[in-house]
């Protein structure tokens, strides 16, 4: 690890100031990606601004019919939240399946969505549930937030303060893990909104990160059952392909995980 300066911010505004006034500053949430990357000497930020102590970025509260989750809230807190389990059981179950217990007790929702790893779990939930990302500068709808692999709409000095999820009448997430890393090789989040609209979002499989499965959404809108999506696969040429899974295998996994998510919802 290269040397860096550590700061602990007490407000989102202070955190943003610290980052924008540093040479190459980075926000630090749970550090579950950034710190290993720094240890590998693949990242060398001049300054780390720890946002985990910021009150406005912590905790889970009711928000309309849904929930708002502070950006520095850990996966374990989301997984254990009675409110989340009640309103969005699919989201609670997703959070409970991220990484391992150590990761879940350190990693945060804001850090995860800001990193936008193409195999991370949260992006699928945000897109399928139609969440809004509240930052230190603005509010960004999830679909406009994730702009590509490891790319988001965030500016360098913009931090995720919270994520607002509207309520849903059904939600579930099913993923197939990469055998080595146990990140998602295909993770599918299905959601039926309070208004009955259906969204299906896929993580882990696509070349550009999270994407929606319009064909599945249409099929589920008229027939909410696993059978409705059994014959629908994404085009293999948009899928990631590596030593763990070819594009065709990943396309198959998207179908299978979609079936299982619908069955679980």
């Amino acid at each position: 690890m290269y040397e860096t300066n550590y700061h602990k911010a007490s407000s989102a505004a202070e955190a943003a100031d610290l980052v924008s006034n540093s040479e190459d500053g980075k926000f630090l949430g749970g550090g579950q990606t950034l710190l290993p990357t720094m240890k590998q000497r693949l990242a060398a930020p001049s300054d780390l601004v720890d946002v985990t102590g910021i009150a406005e970025m912590n905790g889970i509260r009711e928000d309309g019919g849904g929930v708002a989750i502070g950006g520095a809230t850990t996966h374990a807190e989301v997984a254990a939240s009675a409110l989340v389990k009640d309103r969005l059981p699919g989201l609670a179950s997703l959070a409970g399946g991220i990484g391992d217990p150590a990761v879940r007790h350190m990693g945060t929702i804001g850090g995860s969505v800001s990193n936008n790893d193409p195999a991370a779990d949260y992006p699928a939930a945000l897109v399928a549930l139609g969440a809004t990302v509240v930052t230190s500068k603005r509010e960004i709808p999830a679909e406009g937030f994730f702009t590509g692999m490891f790319e988001t709409a965030l500016d360098d000095d913009e931090v995720v303060v919270s994520v607002r999820f509207p309520g849903a009448s059904a939600s579930a997430y099913s993923k197939y893990p990469n055998p080595a890393s146990r990140y998602a090789m295909a993770g599918v989040f299905v959601a039926k909104g309070s208004d009955g609209s259906v969204k299906v979002a896929v993580t882990g499989a696509g070349q550009d990160g999270v994407f929606r499965m319009g064909d599945m959404e249409a099929a589920l809108a008229s027939n909410w059952s696993a059978d409705a999506v059994a014959g629908i696969s994404p085009a293999a040429d948009n899928m990631l392909s590596d030593i763990h899974g070819s594009a065709a295998y990943r396309a198959n996994l998207v179908t299978v995980m979609a079936k299982r998510a619908v069955a679980a919802a």
Binding site: M1, Y2, E3, Q40, R41, Y176, P179, A180, S181, I243, H244, G245, S246, Y249, N252, L253, V256
Partner: protein
């Protein structure tokens, strides 16, 4: 603790230290003034080193020195060697290319070191290593051994024309060909044994300290055999003479074979410490471990099995190409030859066998012994062939094996080994019963009703441990003898130190070895300490690998105990005015049989050291040493049966049951043996389902971290059902065979046979990843539909 002798499930004495963080590993050692080494490594698999510019690095803070291969060679440091000579079938010796600890001219694998930086801190050393500018001219790389042997393949070492190191054979080719002429059925397969990375929990490390006043070196390092390290460093690498070099292997966190060898880094630390005049420490990071720890396996074979009309085996013919990597590591040549092809007879009566092994250089990390070392490759080949042949001729895989079992011992195989004892029917029967083999049909139907595919697979393994009779291995090309030594030192108050040449890096020797003393003298195991891993303390030793610490290491202890016991009895008889033959040792006391006369072990020990009243002419003291050279290999054997359920939609394989029935001979501590089997099975299941060292065509290791190299985890394996069947080994005093590697040797074919049974498709290579299994399940379903 307590008096816990042979057969007691004694808790491990060493665990308190390990569990509470009180272990003492190489990286825990601190010597005032020590500097830290960081290596400059090749990013290319094959390249000319045109220049190395260290001028910027030398100016960086804390940097003491940047050393290169030219300086190493200039100081007379020798090349790394392979210590086992193999001759090709035409009689020519193996073709060994030069391996320098820092390469000045041509790098031959990614991660090979070309320079070392020593600085005040580890961070400074790494920063400076990044600042060393090496100008490479890339050369084409060869990754697969079969490609390396093709005409026109890029030459890797000038010494090995066509990249061929040796073209070796064993067995009778003419007789084997004749057997195939008579065959009623021939089973043919191509069999790949995947390359693995050892991944011990503690990475390699070295701390070298040179004392210029005494011209003496001390090396703390992660070694499975510190005396062998000292011997090789002295005799071949000319780092220092043996009496000026102390090698200490303190607590070592796992080895699996990878810490047998002498590597460039440890040697460079020794040399650099003297050259720059300060202690030098290096600790491998995980990426370096992936790139430079000797890998395991990597065979490509063609095998043919000839059967007569009664389904008895007539002969076995095998052609294997083994990948040895970019350099010949210390015992690399023995692995695909004498540790592999000598086990091709398996548990079976095979009248004739012929095996040809070609070994090739490639631009990959060197390959050497890894848990099982040759025997897993042999077992995988034989047991996949047996299962496949049984299916082809329509026999139950269990009964086909039983029909061909060796039933009488000793049994001379056609490939050197003479099996001394065993009972293959007993372990097969135990395993079949434990898994309810006959009930598999109903279980398959039940799985099918849930859309799942169930399969069952056997593996009846035999392996060779306790390496080995020194004269025998010497005649086969080994550069060393493979005996073991022990010294039993009774202290004046009756506590005992056992100095052993075996080395514990997870095996629990401090417990099992103490149980021998507890058994012999009736002493509390807490009254015994086991001393190992220091060339200044222990007389000599060949170290721990090949499951030899029990059969060879403990046999040496037994021989030393015999001498101690004899002397103690003489002293006791003298003191109690009894006949030596009437002295019995029981419960920590020496008693005169048939009387109430007795002395405690402590009283006898004290008498030996006071010397006030010893038998006429007896030397004082109670300390005896012994060297034990085995008379044969030992032959652990057993049957493993794996039952899997496959989800055809995703290709996920779940091991729903795994039964292991092993014959390890005499067992000292069943709990530790079970732990060894659990670990071995898990590594074998890792090989079968998960692990693979994958290179791209340019020689870049694609699986150089845990993000891509799939280590087995607790939830990948079931609750194993273990049993043991004790057939004593006639070749050593305790009747032990060894248990350290059997799990890794026997399990991969059981897993793969189960999966191919479930899929109805035999075209499967390890690791059986979900992707591969899914593709075969799809193909089978498509075929069934047509």
């Amino acid at each position: 603790m307590a008096v816990e002798g042979i057969g007691a499930r004694a808790l491990r004495k060493e665990d308190k230290r390990f569990i509470t963080g009180k272990g003492n590993y190489t990286d825990d050692m601190v010597i005032p003034g020590m500097g830290f080494a960081a290596f400059v490594r090749s990013p290319h698999a094959h390249a000319k080193v045109k220049s190395i510019d260290s001028s910027d690095a030398l100016k960086m803070p804390g940097v003491d020195a940047v050393l290169t291969g030219d300086q190493l060679v200039g100081d007379g440091i020798g090349n790394l060697i392979c210590g086992w000579m193999i001759h090709s079938k035409d009689g020519t010796p193996m073709k060994m290319g030069g391996w320098r600890a820092l390469e000045p001219e041509i790098v031959r694998h990614v991660g090979q070191a070309v320079a070392v930086v020593v600085a005040d801190t580890q961070a400074q050393a790494r920063d400076a290593a990044d600042a060393v500018v090496v100008d490479y001219e890339e050369l084409p790389a060869v990754v697969e051994a079969v490609d390396a042997l093709k005409p026109g393949a890029r030459q890797i070492h000038p010494e090995a024309e066509g990249n061929l190191i040796f073209d070796w054979e064993i067995g009778d080719e003419a007789a084997t060909d004749a057997a195939f002429e008579k065959a009623a059925h021939v089973t043919r397969m191509e069999i790949r044994n995947n390359r693995l990375v050892p991944n011990p929990m503690e990475p390699r490390a070295a701390l070298a300290d040179y004392n210029d006043a005494e011209e003496h070196h001390t090396l703390y390092t992660t070694s499975q055999n510190p005396h062998v390290a000292r011997l090789v460093l002295s005799a071949f690498y000319a780092v220092a003479p043996e009496h000026k070099l102390r090698v200490i292997a303190p607590d070592v966190g796992g080895g699996f074979g990878s810490k047998i060898y002498i590597y460039p880094e440890e040697m460079v630390c020794l040399w650099a410490s003297k050259r720059i005049g300060r202690p030098v420490k290096w600790v491998s990071d995980r990426t370096e471990a992936f790139l430079t720890d000797a890998h395991g396996r990597d065979h490509q074979s063609e095998a043919e099995l000839a059967l007569d009309a009664d389904n008895k085996i007539l002969g076995l013919r095998v052609k294997t190409v083994a990948n040895i990597g970019a350099y010949m590591s210390l015992f690399s040549s023995s692995v695909p030859t004498y540790l592999y092809a000598t086990l091709l007879s398996g548990q079976y009566n095979i009248p004739t066998i012929h095996a040809n092994v070609k070994t090739a250089y490639t631009n990959t990390t060197p390959v050497d012994a890894y848990r099982g070392a040759g025997r897993p490759e042999a077992t995988y080949l034989v047991e996949r062939m047996m299962e496949t042949a049984a299916r082809e001729v329509g026999l139950s895989p269990a009964e086909f094996r039983r029909k061909n079992f060796v039933k009488e011992f000793p049994h001379q195989t056609p490939v050197i080994m003479c099996y001394d004892a065993g009972n293959h029917d007993a372990t097969l029967d135990a395993a079949l019963k434990a898994i309810d083999y006959d009930g598999i049909g109903a279980r398959k139907a039940e799985s099918a009703s849930r859309g799942k595919l169930r399969g069952i697979g056997l593996s009846c393994y035999v392996e060779a441990c306790g390496i080995a009779p020194s004269a025998a291995v010497g005649s086969l090309g080994a550069g060393v003898g493979l005996w073991e030594s022990a010294e039993v030192r009774v202290n004046p108050i009756g506590t005992i130190e056992v100095l052993t040449g075996s080395h514990s890096h997870g095996q629990g020797h401090e417990t099992t070895f103490a149980q021998l003393i507890s058994e012999r003298f009736g002493l509390d195991t807490d009254a015994v300490s086991i001393v190992h891993g220091d060339t200044d303390k222990v007389q000599f030793g060949m170290g721990t690998y090949g499951s030899r610490s029990g059969a060879v290491g403990m046999s040496a202890i037994v021989k030393a105990l015999d001498k101690v016991e004899a002397k103690a009895k003489k002293i006791a008889a003298h003191l109690m005015e009894a006949s030596e033959g009437d002295i019995q040792i029981e419960g920590g006391e020496l008693k005169v049989a048939g009387t109430d006369k007795k002395l405690s072990f402590t009283e006898v020990a004290l008498a030996a050291y006071t010397g006030h009243n010893l038998p006429e002419g007896m030397e004082p003291g109670l300390k005896e040493g012994a060297f034990y050279d085995p008379t044969n290999f030992t032959f652990p054997s057993g049957t493993y049966i794996c039952e899997v359920e496959i989800d055809p939609e995703t290709g996920t394989t779940e091991i729903v049951n795994f039964v292991a029935a092993d014959d390890f001979g005499k067992i000292i501590n069943p709990m530790i043996v079970e732990g060894q089997v659990h670990g071995g099975l898990t590594q074998g299941i890792g090989q079968a389902l998960l692990e693979n060292a994958a290179y791209d065509e340019n020689g870049q290791l694609l699986t150089a971290s845990y993000m891509d190299y799939t280590m087995p985890r607790a939830d990948d394996v079931p609750n194993f059902q273990l049993s043991t069947h004790e057939t004593l080994c006639p070749g050593n005093p305790l009747g032990m065979k060894g248990c350290g590697e059997a799990g890794a040797i026997g399990s991969p074919p059981a897993v793969i046979n189960a999966i191919t049974d479930a899929l109805g498709n035999n075209d499967l290579t390890m690791p059986a990843t979900p992707q591969k299994v899914w593709a075969l399940a799809q193909a089978s379903a498509k075929q069934a539909a047509e």
